[in-house]
């Protein structure tokens, strides 16, 4: 006979953590506590398998269930020395759902089960509290009528029918509150409730406690498949086939007057993770009262008190408090994690009603994990598996002071919501262009740069701003991309904003925000607020980036450092960074980057005056003109590279040759074109025609990447010269330099071969001139499908591969990142895509191409070094995927380095445990 029912209570429970799938999370927790010797009201759990059977067999119970329930009821009665349905000393029960995974509030519960016309009298006598007994009774009838019998409003006008009866009664009695009703009123309500049930449903309210019990068990089973439960499961990827367990447990009451009470607590702070007991309680109250917030709960211990006029549980019931503290220790030792518990004190006796792993902030998760390693509770690997990489990222960001933000929300200052593109919190004054941002910031103002969308020309302004707000563009828009790389707070694509550059105003929901007005951005949630909100800076950034805090003065940093050390020793993947400037590189190195995986040279082209030389090169009509302009750019690029080489100090630096289409560097307004015409000694018309001739229908697929360097080899030549010259100069300073030159957008092996020839020739010339030898590599991006598919050919000649998964995703999917915003949201909302492929590598499509490229590349050259430098390099799932592909490293923006490290460590640990399992 299959075992359908598991007993818990007294000193012994039949189930526990190991049977969690069978008895559900709640049932397992109760059983565990019993087995740990913790006082738990006895009861039994009906398995999830019984629920599965119930659904597979036309809503019927499996054979043997009845007998097993009856047998277990007997054990409960024996344990409690009370009897179910006894008129003098009646056992009352709660019937609660409990799935494998918590689905809070999604399923049904019945309380005070076992009450009827006879037992209610017994209860009144026993508790010497008739009002309490009849209040329990009317609640039970109401709950049973709703949950089990299914009495619902008949039409839209009607609210809860039972509540309407109560309202009518109160009107008759001319009272306002439920508590103003007398015992007789309550008795009358029970009569009226039963009548309502009879009239509406043509059934009698069951007086037989057993009938009540079976009805409730069936109702809880049925509540597994309510619409909202199904929707919740879909949202949370919980299989419909799991089913729920049912917990039938003795009622205990915290509202039995003196010496009774109830509370909830976390074994450590869920906000900060600090190893302090943290909770709330109420005297003479039921659990719902704490949760529902009808009465304000009190602090559980003295430490938590902020107001001396209240008394903590520690003071009121020191014995009970001590008992709970003991339990706290036992539970943490057992679960090796922070617990969220519920307890009730019935007439001086403590009963634990629930324990489960507590939800916590990212900060708390991290703190608890590190502490528990120190305490010997968990291993380093377990700690690494607990802290989710994304949580780590959040540790870095300044955050809004929670109180101040709550105030702002209350005052209705939230103006709009956009994409949470750059996590963190920022407050500042609105400016509408990069120059203003720089100028205002220059005189010490904190500014928020507000643009319809940003472009590379806005870089310096973005850098100067506290945060960036755009009205168009997605998670991968220029604004968002740069924000992540810079570690900037950013809310992007906030379509509600109507930005007027001329008037320098934002219109939103009838409000008008002007230049200079304060706004606040929560880049973690995408919220935009009118006015200032206080922010709290991250200590870790203070230590690593600002260097305003010494490591030894920051316990948080020290914990962080520890976790990173563990991650470093666990991971197999190297972690590099995408950095275009010495300052970015510096930050990345501080975060532990092991090299630069992508240094984009085009970003440098916008700096200061050099854009003039770049434009001169582009509009030149012949080789001579281009070479002349390139000669002006050479020393600037060289200087850039020297700066980066110095910072990287012996770590490899992968530099990509020019990638974007040339028209991206050209001006578009009439004034700018006229200016440039004057500077380059041509006419407005001729220059306009040139700009027009460079226009492309699909710039993403146009004349860019190595296609530029092939048609204009002099550009690649100049860049190679600048790189190798810089390397020689820095080497002279005694610093080791490892340049890796990367050719973008290669599709044909011939393209790579030609570009490599140009680079090698230039390098040879420079090295001869300097009489020095620089060990450099020439490799390629794998960023279009053809490159992946022909990676065997390319692998023969390339000295490394770097997957450019941004472009590879765009081309493999035939989906423009910029344009996809128009339908991607729809796709995600409608489950056509499981996730945004521009955020996380599309493993089934793009990933397969990567796999092909890795296999073909390694076939060509066994130890071919391969990395990834797309945005995905900092996304934990993608990092894991890269680990599984056997890449050598991932490269991500400086502020994602630690995220990537942790993700890489977790991937390696998972791998290890998978292999162990085999």
């Amino acid at each position: 006979m299959t075992k359908h029912v598991y007993f818990f209570g007294g000193k012994k429970a039949e189930a526990g953590e190991k049977l969690k799938n069978l008895v559900g999370g709640k049932g397992a927790g109760l059983a565990d506590m019993v087995n740990l010797g913790i006082p738990v009201p006895p009861g039994f759990t009906i398995t999830t398998e019984a629920c599965v059977y119930f659904y597979k067999h036309g809503m019927t119970f499996p054979d043997g269930l009845k007998e097993q329930v009856m047998a277990n009821m007997k054990r409960v009665e024996e344990t409690m020395a009370m009897k179910f349905g006894d008129t003098k000393n009646p056992l009352l029960f709660s019937v609660r759902s409990g799935a494998r995974v918590s689905m809070p509030g999604m399923m049904d519960t019945v309380l005070n089960l076992g009450l009827n016309e006879k037992t209610v009298k017994g209860l009144a006598k026993l508790t010497k509290n008739e009002r309490f007994a009849y209040d329990c009774y009317r609640r039970f009838v109401q709950m049973y009528g709703d949950v089990v019998l299914g009495l619902k409003p008949e039409n839209k006008e009607e609210s809860d029918p039972f509540e309407e009866v109560i309202e009518a009664k109160k009107k008759e009695k001319k009272v306002k509150l439920d508590t103003d009703l007398t015992v007789d009123d309550l008795k009358d309500l029970v009569v009226r409730f039963k009548k309502l049930i009879k009239t509406r449903l043509k059934v009698d309210f069951p007086e037989d406690p057993w009938e009540q019990l079976w009805g409730s068990i069936g109702a809880v089973f049925k509540s597994w498949n309510t619409e909202r439960a199904i929707a919740y499961r879909e949202l949370n990827n919980i299989p419909d086939t799991w089913g729920t367990a049912v917990n039938v447990q003795c009622m205990v009451f915290g509202n039995m007057g003196e010496g009774s009470g109830t509370g909830v607590a976390f074994t450590r702070s869920p906000t900060t993770g600090v190893d302090e007991f943290y909770g709330e309680y109420l005297l003479n109250a039921q659990g719902e009262d704490v949760v529902a917030g009808i009465r304000t709960p009190l602090p559980i211990n003295k430490k938590q008190k902020t107001d001396d006029s209240v008394q903590s549980l520690e003071e009121v019931m020191p014995d009970i408090y001590a008992q709970i503290m003991q339990i706290r220790g036992n539970l943490e030792k057992h679960y090796r994690d922070m617990q969220d518990v519920e307890f009730t004190i019935q007439k001086g006796k403590l009963w634990m009603l629930q324990t489960r792993n507590g939800k916590r902030t990212a900060f708390a998760e991290f703190k608890i994990a590190v502490d528990m390693v120190k305490e010997g509770l968990i291993t380093k690997e377990e700690a690494l598996m607990r802290v989710k990489p994304e949580q780590l990222d959040q540790l870095m960001r300044p955050i809004f002071d929670p109180n101040d933000k709550a105030k702002a929300l209350k005052s209705g200052n939230m103006a709009a919501r956009g994409l949470n593109a750059g996590p963190g919190a920022a407050t500042g004054r609105v400016v509408f262009n990069a120059e203003d941002a720089e100028a205002w910031a220059g005189r010490g103002e904190k500014v928020i740069l507000v643009r319809v969308e940003t472009s590379p020309e806005d870089l310096r302004g973005m850098n100067a701003a506290q945060g960036i707000l755009t009205s168009t563009g997605g998670v991968s828009s220029h604004a968002a991309l740069v924000a992540r790389q810079m570690g900037k707070i950013c809310v992007a694509g906030c379509g509600e904003l109507d930005i007027d550059y001329k008037k320098k105003t934002i219109k939103v929901k009838g409000k008008v925000i002007k230049e200079g007005d304060y706004i606040s951005l929560d880049g973690t949630t995408g919220e935009v607020f009118v006015g200032e909100i206080k922010t709290i800076p991250s200590e870790i950034l203070q230590v690593l980036v600002d260097k305003t805090l010494k490591p030894k003065d920051s316990p948080v940093y020290k914990d962080f450092e520890l976790l990173m050390k563990w991650a470093d020793s666990a991971r197999k993947l190297g972690i590099r960074t995408n950095a275009d400037e010495p300052k970015q590189a510096e930050v990345a190195v501080a975060f532990g980057a092991e090299g630069i995986g992508l240094c984009r040279t085009e970003h440098m082209f916008f700096e200061g005056d050099r854009i003039d030389a770049v434009r001169e090169m582009i509009v030149a009509n012949d080789l001579k003109g281009r070479v002349k302009a390139l000669k002006k750019i050479l020393p600037m690029q060289k200087k850039d590279f020297m700066g980066i080489f110095r910072v990287m100090n012996g770590l490899p630096v992968t530099i990509r040759t020019l990638d974007p289409p040339l028209h991206e560097f050209l001006p578009h307004t009439e004034k700018e074109i006229k200016d440039l015409a004057k500077k380059t000694g041509t006419t407005f018309e001729a220059l306009s025609a040139k700009i027009q001739s460079l226009h492309e229908a699909n710039p993403m697929l146009g004349h860019r990447g190595c296609r530029l360097g092939i048609v204009y080899p002099e550009i690649t030549e100049m860049q190679a010269q600048a790189i190798i010259e810089a390397a020689c100069e820095v080497k002279k300073e005694g610093i080791k330099v490892i340049p890796e030159i990367m050719i973008p957008l290669v599709g044909y092996v011939n393209e790579f071969v030609l570009q490599k020839e140009v680079v090698d020739k230039a390098a040879k010339e420079v090295m001869a001139r300097y009489k020095m030898d620089i060990e450099y590599k020439v490799g390629t991006m794998i960023e279009i499908p053809r490159a992946a598919i022909t990676a065997d050919e390319i692998g023969k000649v390339a000295e490394f591969f770097s997957f450019g998964t941004n472009d590879l995703t765009q081309t493999a999917m035939g989906m423009s990142r910029d344009d996809a915003v128009k339908f991607l949201r729809f796709y995600l909302d409608n489950n056509i895509l499981a996730y945004d492929p521009f955020q996380r590598i599309d493993e089934d499509g793009v990933g397969k191409l990567m796999k092909i490229a890795v296999d073909l590349g390694r076939k060509a050259k066994k130890n071919l070094k391969m990395g990834i430098c797309g945005e995905h390099g900092g996304e934990p799932n993608s990092v894991e995927f890269c680990h599984s592909l056997g890449l050598n490293y991932v490269s991500c923006s400086p502020y994602r380095v630690t995220v990537a490290k942790l993700a890489a460590a977790r991937a390696a640990i998972k791998d290890k445990s998978k292999k162990k399992a085999k």
Copy 2:
């Protein structure tokens, strides 16, 4: 000892066709003729292997070569009963190159070898013609000095130094022509030549004939690696490693006075292919005289005579002519192909000097192949392998009257040259927009539509025009694509043209062409002419399309029909067509299309008033508005489909749901936008904003294809309704209908599933309403890499695949067809790409993706029907590739159907012979 030398002469030759790789094409032809009993001056061939040895061993001859040459010389002397170097009866030789494959004019030749101060006197005596002997001598010294000794101009100012000597002599003698020089002058020239050699090169001219011979053999070997020979090989894909053979052959002279002569002939007409002997001759002349065009050659036979004042060889030397006619028959029987021969008559004796397969026009190729099958000379399969599919295409096009075109060229009327985008010839009056084209054509004018570039809105104008000329865009531009589909003559991307729409002028090379002026386009060559040039229409089109000619009245058509019948029985691939309109479908069916592989529904959207409804649908702000507009479009689409179903009469019709981004349908000029605003009852500002909001950075990768149908399922629904309603209506008429609905741009299987649901639901509703059952299929395009890579998933649910290789090429290569013109030409010119991937499937890249998709798709569903509907479907190499992939069909534009058929047949035949070879 390796055999380095092969003898030919008398009745026997050692080599022949089978040793062509060893003795070269020329050597093999000479040997073959000897073995066929045809009179050939004796000689011997030094193998290509000896040449390879020569290069591998520092320009030295292999062991044994000397001995073998001497032995063979002896056989020649015996055959001719003359002696090399003999002072009385000297044997003279030509030394000529002869590679496996003809490289006309690329390598060196030495004639009259064996002459020196002594032998020249013998020759003079023997021929009784001192002038002849000394002219031969001075030519030999000159040729030897140049070719063997390498006497070249010393600087840029100097022309040929020997010619300068001659010019000086003529000046001294005050004569104009070489022939005015006396014997003594010639003798003096020899002296001066030798002196020049001595002065410049510090060597004596070799008097020893053997020394002359070895010098010449080495020189011919060396000429294999001259710059121009290498360049030629590169261009023609001839491996450098092949080397050349050397033919040492007795000289015969056609310029020995009476009874001597020389000529060239084709065994059939190289222009029309007609089975008539075709050639030219000159009396008392050398071969060079015929080729060089110094004297006008005469017709070889009476049939060719157009002028009664001249005499043909047939009349002058009837015996010789009869002998040649006999040889002609023998050669054709032997080679089973049309031959191009050279002959010399020395004092009444005929000598054949060369035979090789003759070059011919496409028309001749086709005619000869069909005739030779009829004559039993070759098999049907051989005929199919001879006619290149592209040649067939040319048969369909009107062509310029060659005389009239020559006149135009002579008069300097060629104005510019663009891309030969739509082969054929067209003449007409210049118009600058589609409306004018229609209007002018409406009143009977032949017009050429001239645009900077064309767009779908120009369709009707393009249709009305004789030809299309654009100043931008490549082979795959809209103009070129539509031109091919329509069978229109088109010259695209003619950058030299400066088109001014306002003034209605084209400026080119200082000329101004105005509206209404005549121009002529040669779409086969890309030439653009000012003025009219007469065209000749293709008979085949007259029969199949215009129906102005009956098949029985056109022998050409009958041959064509025959060839197609052979192709049909040989091929394995099905051939469908891309057609959007009944008229196109009709043409395709006439050409033998077996179904429609791609019917684009968007082209229909531009017809007449329907664009208004389409625009109304697009600018509608809600579902209701869209549905209202779609209801207007439904009956129009339905009518379109009915027309197509009727024409296809039981053949399958694959209809693609809406593909292009919606903004393509919207107006762009202020006036048009205002008009549309008025029509749709909105404001100019609101509509402009809507249009702006639909703008895309990369429309190719934007909101298009099934992404439209997913976000706006009502569009797909309407189209499915229109298709199934049309099918029901036509079925009622007793016509079988096989609709196949194709979902474009699928990347995720979910996309397809959702769209199939919409289609199935609509179809079910329509069939219920009509109470009919239509067998339809729902399949997908495979046109983005992700679809190819996940074809196993998609193959489970899709009922067919159709490769959209246009988009697949763009995405797999990350290359926009429109923008690639900017660098693709450079890539092709510089051998980075072997061919244009938008014309021919990139087998190594895109092809590999296709292979993956085929394999995965067939793994999911063993007999999954697969075709291709990209432009490549009509390109022979691509058709062959599709055959090798095992696709079920290719689909191409109507005018490419026969090309595709032939290509498919050839692929099947090649396959068969490959399998046989195994």
